[in-house]
């Protein structure tokens, strides 16, 4: 499995591959959006504003998953010093940042018609904002620290500390009184979302995951080329 992410395999991915991936992604997202915006029913309590969920929930999930990946890659970098992990983490960070931002923006747009306000300093929203700052910090370190080894070390530390925030985000709604509602989909019990709403949610999630994967692979490929070039230049 890991072998597929080895630099040479990634370098062999050409434009055809990305075009196919993009077409599949657009197809799935269009089907997902048709389901989410037209076919799926309005919510009994919230009415049509529930449709924001079909973007909000997948975005939050991807934002958390990407930082989870950064956390694992950072620990591996600190301990085993495997060269491809920092490149992978570096490539996935912008994807996570964008979806974290989308999650927060759609969340406030959803908050206004349901709760009555755009923003509340409750545990879920605040910890999500902290995640956004961790993304910004992680990316800035790679951008502004010029020495590669130094940037690698500092960003890994930020990645590890930031990933400690992930369980806080996940369980904030259970640990404290929050304005944000508890999770509808859990591992232990049946989902609290009716299946007519669960299907578009699943399609949107798959579509956006493929989108993330595509952007990640493109960026990862660029990072590998950059890394190889810098190595070559050093050799001279």
């Amino acid at each position: 499995m890991l072998k597929k992410f080895f630099p040479n395999k990634i370098l062999s991915l050409n434009n055809n591959f990305f075009t196919v991936l993009a077409v599949v992604m657009i197809f799935i997202i269009i089907i997902g959006l048709i389901n989410a915006l037209i076919i799926s029913p309005p919510d009994a309590v919230q009415g049509n504003s529930v449709r924001i969920m079909y973007v909000h929930v997948p975005s939050s999930f991807i934002a958390l998953a990407c930082f989870g990946f950064i956390g694992i890659a950072s620990i591996s970098t600190l301990i085993f010093k495997i060269k491809i992990f920092p490149l992978m983490a570096k490539s996935i960070a912008p994807v996570g940042l964008v979806f974290c931002l989308v999650s927060i923006v759609t969340g406030s747009l959803w908050g206004k018609p349901t709760w009555g306000i755009f923003w509340a300093w409750d545990a879920r929203l605040t910890s999500m904002l902290i995640l956004l700052f961790f993304y910004i910090a992680y990316i800035s370190i790679w951008k502004f620290v010029e020495n590669y080894e130094k940037a690698n070390k500092i960003s890994s530390l930020v990645g590890v500390i930031g990933s400690l925030n992930l369980p806080v985000i996940k369980y904030s709604v259970d640990w404290w009184n929050t304005l944000h509602q508890p999770s509808s989909i859990t591992l232990t019990s049946a989902p609290a979302i009716h299946y007519t709403m669960l299907i578009p949610l699943a399609i949107m999630l798959i579509g956006l995951i493929i989108y993330s994967l595509m952007i990640f692979l493109m960026k990862y490929k660029t990072e590998i080329i950059k890394f190889k070039l810098s190595k070559k230049n050093k050799g001279k």
């Binding site: 029913p41 349901t114 009555g116 404290w176 508890p182 979302i193």
Partner: protein, 142 residues
């Protein structure tokens, strides 16, 4: 096998993680009051020192048949099924505000059982269902 160098790095990383975790724990302990977005009527009831001049938030369910509307003002009871607080408010209320649904009120306590709100927020639960399903569920109850 794992070399000594890697072993020492694992040790340092774990030490670092434990240190950060302890720091975060202290951080949350000291912020406990601020992290909680609202207090339930029971928590208000059990609290020994309450500052009546401070703006706080209380939350729970709107008790059934407790909403009394008069002109622009509204009175209702927030309950957590153990304790209750009477809330008085005038102003606009969110669409989702209704009986037996979650609510958060921001304002000042007059005493442990009476609260004057400056802002009302609706808290919705994690259940999502189309209207027809709710209707069918309600019909099957009778």
């Amino acid at each position: 096998m794992i070399s000594r160098k890697v072993k020492s790095r694992i040790f340092v990383t774990i030490l670092f993680l434990v240190l950060v975790l302890v720091l975060i724990l202290f951080f949350f302990r000291s912020l406990e009051e601020n992290i909680v977005y609202f207090l339930s009527p029971t928590e208000i009831n059990n609290k020994e020192s309450i500052s009546f001049n401070k703006t706080i938030r209380i939350g729970g369910l709107v008790k059934k048949n407790s909403i009394i509307k008069k002109n622009n003002s509204i009175n209702f009871i927030i309950t957590d099924l153990n304790n209750e607080i009477i809330v008085s408010y005038s102003g606009s209320i969110p669409n989702l505000f209704s009986e037996e649904k979650g609510v958060v009120a921001e304002g000042k306590l007059q005493d442990k059982k009476y609260f004057i709100a400056e802002k009302i927020l609706a808290k919705h639960d994690e259940n999502y269902m189309p209207p027809e399903v709710i209707k069918a569920l309600k019909e099957s109850e009778y």
